[in-house]
Symmetry: C2
Subunit: 159 residues, 2 copies
DNA sequence: TTAGGATGATTAACAGGTTAACCATATTGA
DNA sequence: TCAATATGGTTAACCTGTTAATCATCCTAA
């Protein structure tokens, strides 16, 4: 890559690849677990948010915001959860536009089953790093994310 | 997330999120550039590999291997590149199964145009990290990737 | 009170990826 | 020699995400 385009800044270009490769590699640890449970990483995330949040209820918008996907996509994720009986969807009495998503007991059960199954893969994935290294990586990734946010192009600046 | 499932190891769980958030954030810097050029990150990667490689030629399998996607998907990526006149596809004389993909002059041109346009976003993205931090992040990510590879489940071990 | 605009959610069309089945060509060994 | 198998590539079906358009409800100001 850098061979083809020597003008690219090496350190940064390599960093992009490293991050992508890392995320890709991580997928192999968790997707199998989710698949077995009939979940997606996103649908699992939604279940967790519902469990953690206010009385197991939330709105689609809130959820899409927290998960980091579009509302349109959240609609589909919720369709699937509702269809599987893991969550319920109702219209709020005081505002007919708002929907209320609630986790069901079945949903709680599935989410609780997922937890223990994820512990081992999580630890195994990072077993090559000691606590100090994990802490450093955490710190640097946070710093990088802040950098991305700051540098994020505001839809074209001065051209 | 950790609130809902306290049994999950915090450091590792957070790390997964950080890496995903980071990669997602990175996308905002480059996808616009690729889009303007009518490229995908993957199709750009293919062009780079062709430029860097042996006489601008390679086989679909090699490319899918190097890019890290399936052969089926590479077929589609190449369809698109060939369709846009950026690469050509031919059958190898000595073995009718093998195809030879070559980058065209138009393909070289597009790839060369992409280079300069990527420099600024790349530097901007990582502008919040100094050289030492970049080096540390590089080292830790590589170590993490090695850890992922080692710990990668060999399709169920002892269950 | 009601027309115009916001807001929450869904739908439709599309993009890019995956897996599994398939086709065509080469290779091998009985 | 030729049937069985391996290999390279494509196709078909599907999954999950995105964007843009749409629907329904609510809010607001003339």
């Amino acid at each position: 890559m850098a061979e083809a385009l020597p003008e690219l800044p090496m350190a940064e270009t390599v960093m992009v690849r490293l991050m992508r490769i890392g995320v890709f590699g991580l997928g192999n640890f968790f997707e199998p677990v989710f698949r077995e449970l009939g979940l997606t990483e996103n649908s699992f995330h939604v279940l967790c948010l519902l469990m953690a949040g206010d009385q197991g209820r939330a709105s689609p918008s809130e959820l899409s915001e927290l998960v980091g996907t579009t509302r349109a996509n959240m609609t589909r994720i919720l369709d699937s959860l509702v269809n599987d009986g893991l969550a319920s969807r109702a219209i709020e009495a005081r505002d007919g536009r708002r929907h209320v998503i609630r986790i069901t007991t079945a949903g709680c059960k599935v989410a609780s089953e997922a937890g223990p199954r994820l512990v081992e893969p999580l630890k195994r994935a990072f077993s090559g790093l000691d606590a100090d290294e994990l802490a450093s990586l955490d710190r640097l990734l946070r710093k990088a994310i802040v950098s991305f946010d700051k540098g994020a192009t505001p839809l074209r600046v001065a051209a």
